[in-house]
């Protein structure tokens, strides 16, 4: 790999708190190495701002290895930036070249209010899980692990859905701010396993109801969510969700 350095212009969303109006602010960064991660570039900028006695930019981040789902920047009009299947923290500066202008915004969705600068409130996702995103098994109830064989193909599909990191990029990318990809991934993860079968119907109905309550929009299948999902979760799971929902709603025997 050939490494290089670059100077960039950044236009970053600044917003003091939930209630105040935000605005874009322009920053210059210099001597950025192509080996840095995108968030390390922000570290460099923040260090400079602190040195100049200015407010650093607040952003969410934690593991910096693409798995915790905390980072959430909307970069040049795309959640998590230009690389496919990548979180913001895994995006590296070799994706940019000298002289580029980079626009960075928070996730934009009614259900994800901005807390400060690039940080949003994603509690809505936790509340959707609370509505039914689990298998109701208390500690100590379990039978031997191998007493429940699971067809490998189904186990693999279930795992692929369970890979969701709950970052919310799907919502941010969607013109309707729909959370269908997130909800469908959880519904599919559990519905594909025999352990999840007993609560299949109530789970999907309750999770979808909570999703609607939180103010997420409807799905019109533009598939923008799949295109930006850092874990490449397929919209096929949305089809599965719809199937699960229809059969639960029409066959409900309560």
């Amino acid at each position: 790999m050939d490494h290089y350095t670059m100077n960039l212009t950044l236009k970053v969303w600044k917003q003091k708190n939930k209630s105040e109006r935000g605005h874009f602010e322009t920053y210059q960064v210099t001597d950025i190495s192509s080996e840095m991660s995108f968030l390390e570039m922000f570290d460099v900028l923040n260090e400079k701002l602190i040195e100049e006695n200015r407010e650093p930019i607040a952003f969410d981040h934690d593991c910096r290895e693409g798995i915790c789902g905390m980072c959430s920047m909307y970069i040049n009009g795309r959640p998590h930036g230009p690389w496919h299947g990548t979180t913001t923290c895994q995006l590296h500066m070799r994706a940019f070249k000298d002289g580029d202008t980079v626009v960075v915004e928070p996730w934009r969705a009614n259900a994800f209010p901005v807390i400060k600068d690039l940080i949003v409130d994603r509690h809505a996702f936790d509340r959707i899980i609370q509505a039914g995103g689990y298998i109701s098994v208390n500690t100590g109830n379990a039978v031997d692990g191998n007493a429940i064989p699971v067809e490998k193909e189904k186990a693999d599909q279930s795992f692929a859905a369970a890979a969701c990191i709950g970052c919310g990029a799907c919502v941010a990318a969607c013109k309707n701010s729909s959370a269908m990809l997130f909800v469908s991934a959880k519904v599919a993860h559990l519905a594909l396993l025999p352990q999840g079968a007993p609560e299949k119907k109530s789970r999907v109905l309750n999770m979808v109801e909570q999703m609607d309550k939180e103010g997420f929009g409807s799905c019109t299948m533009t598939e923008a969510c799949e295109a930006v999902c850092p874990k490449e979760i397929s919209v096929d799971y949305i089809a599965r969700l719809n199937k699960e929902y229809l059969s639960a709603a029409s066959l409900i025997d309560k």
């Binding site: 790999m1 708190n17 190495s33 080996e35 991660s37 968030l39 390390e40 570290d43 460099v44 260090e47 701002l49 602190i50 200015r54 407010e55 650093p56 607040a58 969410d60 981040h61 934690d62 593991c63 910096r64 290895e65 693409g66 915790c68 789902g69 905390m70 990548t86 895994q90 995006l91 070799r94 400060k116 509690h123 936790d126 899980i129 609370q130 509505a131 995103g133 689990y134 109701s136 098994v137 208390n138 500690t139 100590g140 379990a142 031997d144 692990g145 191998n146 429940i148 064989p149 699971v150 067809e151 490998k152 186990a155 693999d156 279930s158 795992f159 369970a162 890979a163 559990l190 352990q195």
Partner: protein, 658 residues
């Protein structure tokens, strides 16, 4: 002074005897008892969920925006359990013995044995919750092997095992939130523990969104706050991982045990420059199929693929023929450092070795797949193509991660790896019941010290976190709370809450009022450099003495020079970080003091003065067969308490992986 409360009886019966005789709390009384759980990783989430299920009133706290983001999520390779599904001779005893031996005989035997016993329940529990472990075509669970071990007992979900286990625990936790048994406080950081009449009765925490300080009462307090690897600045930990909660508890009377037992993981992506903010692990499971090598020639500048087979030094296979690339982490890390220091390192910085998958990709997987497909005499191209498919399934996400970070394709060229700080075996001292030296204050998971001794074997951190949360604390906490049923919730207007909150408020305002010229980050980096250079992979008395002095003056400078922008009563990530770094600086001093005191090599703690002729770690069981539990007695002042270790079944011997 230190009563470890190890139950009587033979080792293998201790836990069942204990469970059979421990005090119980009846369901009606459980509803009157409040428990605070700080941290929602595997230990915290599983504890909060299980205690909520039992009927206790639980309040859980995390600094992240959701409990699902705790750093357990980043664990890659797997979780051990003594299921013996592979019929390869595994048993509870072997898992126990491997863990004790891997820990270089510095763990408490009774705790480790209990860990091995409950390991089997963990897998069952997780499967029942819907954790999608890897499976065979039969539909049954698959296993792989891990370092320091000769059986296949590791359960996994590709390279995302921690994520899947944490999501299982998180979902169980959210279910309890929905049922009203657990109240969840996110973006909250614990800044002190409140002690009334010698018992932990609550916490002071800061709401990280508004900056407000809050008081919370609990009949007992559980710290599940993870490890302190970020004291080295660069580590595989998440950026937010910190020692603050454990350190506050330490300063309020909880002993800190074996702080110098820190684990340097052998296979991480090397540092690229000063901008580096963290290091990324490449799972140890890769050592199953990757062979580690350096060129036989010093300062060889050829590309890896241009170096012919006979000019490669597979130094782990050469030095440790019995375990080869699967030696424990401490051994593999030191061997990599030794080769690089001797001038055989690779890559631009020469601080790296190769981890190469080509041999097994072709010979192990390629050939097996060719045979499955009925292809006779397959050519190289076919073998590579077929082998890649299997490797992708086993390690795909790790290979992708490597490529994103380095820009190199590990299917084509060997990975470059180097050791990095990963896990901390030391932590708050706890007794058999996981209670610290403060009554009613417990420590679970990585933040306690008990199970891994001086070195943790792979795939056992997840096991310990979940063991403590699902299967240990629900039993042991009852033994304490049974005597607390008549205690009414103490109003948070109590003077002890008042005093604790005032102390926290004053500390925050003194931090904000320093208004110096240096950023928090710059201090953290400097602390990390001192720790890595003088208390890292190898340590000696001279360096440690220097480090202690340097850290003391760094502390002075920090409290005079740090600059924290913004205000107190708002979201202020720089203030959060400053408070954590201030605690790391104090901990750094204690780590060096402990490392200096322990004038022997064991596990991850390598003292240059104490090695065999072959350069292996040399223990001194006659002087150091104990847990060093440090008691805080004011600034720069600690008292050493020793818990002597007794080994009933696993007799200490020189570890031999040759």
């Amino acid at each position: 002074m230190l009563d470890s409360k190890i139950p009587e009886g033979p080792l293998e019966n201790k836990w069942s005897n204990y469970k059979g005789h421990v005090k119980l709390v009846n369901p009606a009384n459980k509803r009157k008892l409040e428990i605070i759980v700080v941290g929602t990783g595997l230990a915290g989430a599983s504890a909060a969920a299980s205690l909520g299920e039992l009927g206790y009133r639980v309040k859980a706290f995390c600094f992240q925006d959701s409990p699902r983001r705790a750093h357990s999520i980043a664990a890659q390779g797997g979780i051990n359990a003594a299921k013996n599904y592979q019929n390869d001779g595994d048993s509870v005893f072997r898992l126990f013995y491997d863990t004790i031996k891997g820990g270089d005989y510095r763990s408490r035997e009774s705790n480790t044995h209990r860990l091995a016993e409950v390991s089997v329940n963990i897998i069952d529990q997780c499967v029942a919750q819907g954790v999608p472990f890897a499976r065979e075509y039969s539909g049954l669970l698959n296993n792989r092997s891990f370092g320091g071990v000769q059986v296949k007992r590791t359960f996994y979900a590709a390279g995302q095992t921690g994520q899947q286990l944490l999501i299982g625990a998180y979902q169980a936790l959210e279910r309890q939130v929905a049922l009203g048994n657990v109240t969840m406080y996110t973006r909250h950081e614990m800044l002190d523990v409140v002690i009334i009449d010698g018992k932990a009765r609550g916490i002071i925490c800061r709401n990280l969104v508004t900056g407000e300080l809050e008081r919370h009462f609990g009949h007992s307090v559980l710290l599940c706050t993870g490890g302190y690897g970020n004291v080295f600045y660069l580590s595989t930990n998440a950026m937010g991982c910190n020692v603050t909660a454990a350190w506050k508890a330490h300063k309020k009377g909880a002993f800190f045990a074996n702080p110098c037992f820190t684990q340097i993981h052998p296979t991480c992506i090397p540092v690229t420059g000063d901008h580096q903010s963290k290091l990324t692990l490449m799972s140890e499971s890769l050592r199953n199929d990757g062979r580690i090598w350096v060129p036989k020639k010093q300062n060889d500048t050829r590309k890896a693929n241009d170096i012919p087979e006979e000019e490669r030094d597979y130094y782990l296979e050469r030095r440790y023929p019995a375990y080869g690339n699967l030696v424990p982490r401490d051994v593999a890390s030191r061997a990599a450092k030794e080769r690089c220091d001797a001038g055989y390192g690779v890559g631009t910085t020469k601080q790296a070795v190769y981890l190469d998958f080509r041999y097994n990709l072709i010979n192990k997987y390629g050939r097996a797949e060719a045979s499955k497909h009925g292809i006779e005499n397959p050519d190289m191209e076919t073998l590579v193509r077929l082998g890649k498919e299997v490797v992708k399934e086993e390690y795909g996400n790790l290979f992708d991660m490597y490529e994103k970070i380095t820009g190199e394709n590990p299917y084509e060229v060997p990975m470059r790896i180097y050791p990095a700080v990963h896990y901390t075996m030391g932590g708050l001292w706890v007794d058999y019941e996981l209670m610290t030296s403060v009554k009613g204050l417990y420590a679970l998971g990585e933040c306690n010290f008990s199970d891994h001794g001086a070195n943790r074997l792979g795939a056992s951190a997840l096991m310990q976190g979940l063991a403590d949360g699902y299967f240990v604390i629900p039993y042991t906490i009852g033994n304490y709370l049974a005597d607390e049923i008549s205690v009414k919730p103490i109003p948070t207007t109590h003077e002890a809450f008042e005093a604790a909150e005032n102390a926290v408020r004053e500390r925050i305002s003194s931090l904000m009022n320093i208004k110096g010229n240096q950023s928090v980050e710059s201090f953290h980096k400097r602390l990390g450099k001192i720790m890595w250079n003088k208390c890292g992979m190898s340590r000696n008395a001279k360096n440690l003495n220097e480090a202690i002095q340097e850290i003391r003056s760094l502390k002075k400078e920090f409290w005079n020079e740090v600059r924290i922008p913004g205000d107190i009563n708002e979201m202020n990530p720089e203030l959060d970080k400053a408070s954590r770094v201030a605690d790391f600086i104090e901990l750094g001093e204690l780590i060096c003091i402990d490392a200096l005191e322990r004038a022997e090599s064991c596990g991850g703690h390598f003292r240059e003065e104490s090695q065999t002729e072959e350069g292996e770690a040399l223990r001194h069981d006659d002087q150091f067969l104990h847990v060093a539990a440090w008691e805080y007695n004011g600034e720069h002042n600690w008292k050493l308490n020793k818990e002597e270790l007794e080994f009933e079944l696993a007799k200490p011997t020189q570890r031999n992986y040759k």
